[in-house]
Subunit: 135 residues, 2 copies
DNA sequence: CCTTGAAGCTCTAGTGGCTAGAGATTGTAG
DNA sequence: CTACAATCTCTAGCCACTAGAGCTTCAAGG
């Protein structure tokens, strides 16, 4: 079984230019080519690309995915390192959530305190100007 | 009062190249220059740059900040549009939080179910390969 | 076998919000 | 007047793609 880049795209939901990009950054191996230099892929690449897509959907960056792929090929190895990467990523997400929740609270607070009057007396603008609520 | 770009940077906490960048994208007006073509800023720019910095810290993108700056200059105007921009931004943040919370849950779930054995039987790797938990 | 048109190819440039560096010039304190 | 920090412009790099130009190849129908 040997499929074109378009067919690979259809089967994985990854766009054609993105597949070529992944090849360029080394997430996908250099594929076989036809005589006319068109790429031809096999089942392994479908699985690998699906793996990449799911990892991207879960927010992993390319460097992490490269490592996860390498690890996933060493079937006998302990999965401690995999867990460590994922754990690090979860902590990363936690920090981002915290930050966003704090931002949201500050924005909502300035909205709540807005008297719906003119710009001159607008709480929101004031907060932006001073960086905090002056009471 | 007329200060250099370095002094402006010190007073606002915005780095020198970033100030030049903001000028380039039209967040800061073209400043006065010395005979030797070095930039000189006044109090207005300090205030404006502080405004920009706070807005960036609150996660607004440059396009939004441009609009907020324009609005903030029209002191008589109703602040409805300002509120609308901020409200949109809050909703944006809400969506990002939701997504991150969902991601976090999925990652944590796969970690919890990991038997700490080999890669071969690793839950985390399986989830990435299939895109969901096969029971 | 030949034509046609979709799909493929490579290469470059753009996105956002900066950051880093090269290499030249200017400001200012001693 | 000298020394040197600061500033100048310009280009390129970051991440993970995306878009487009201009060309070639593949596959199906006649």
């Amino acid at each position: 079984m040997s499929i074109s880049i378009g067919e690979l795209a259809r089967r994985t939901g990854v766009k054609v230019p993105t597949i070529r990009y992944y090849e360029g950054v080394g997430l996908l191996p250099t594929p076989a080519r036809t005589e006319g230099r068109q790429r031809r892929f096999g089942v392994d690449e479908v699985a690998r690309l699906n793996f990449i897509r799911h990892a991207r959907e879960l927010g992993f960056e390319v460097a992490d995915i490269r490592e996860l792929l390498t690890l996933s090929e060493q079937r006998e190895r302990s999965c401690a390192e995999v867990d460590a990467i994922v754990h690090r990523h979860v902590e990363n997400i936690d920090r981002r959530i915290e930050k966003l929740v704090a931002l949201r609270a500050e924005l909502q607070r300035s909205l709540d305190r807005c008297a719906r009057g003119t710009i001159e007396e607008c709480r929101v603008i004031k907060v932006l100007g001073y960086g905090y609520d002056r009471v």
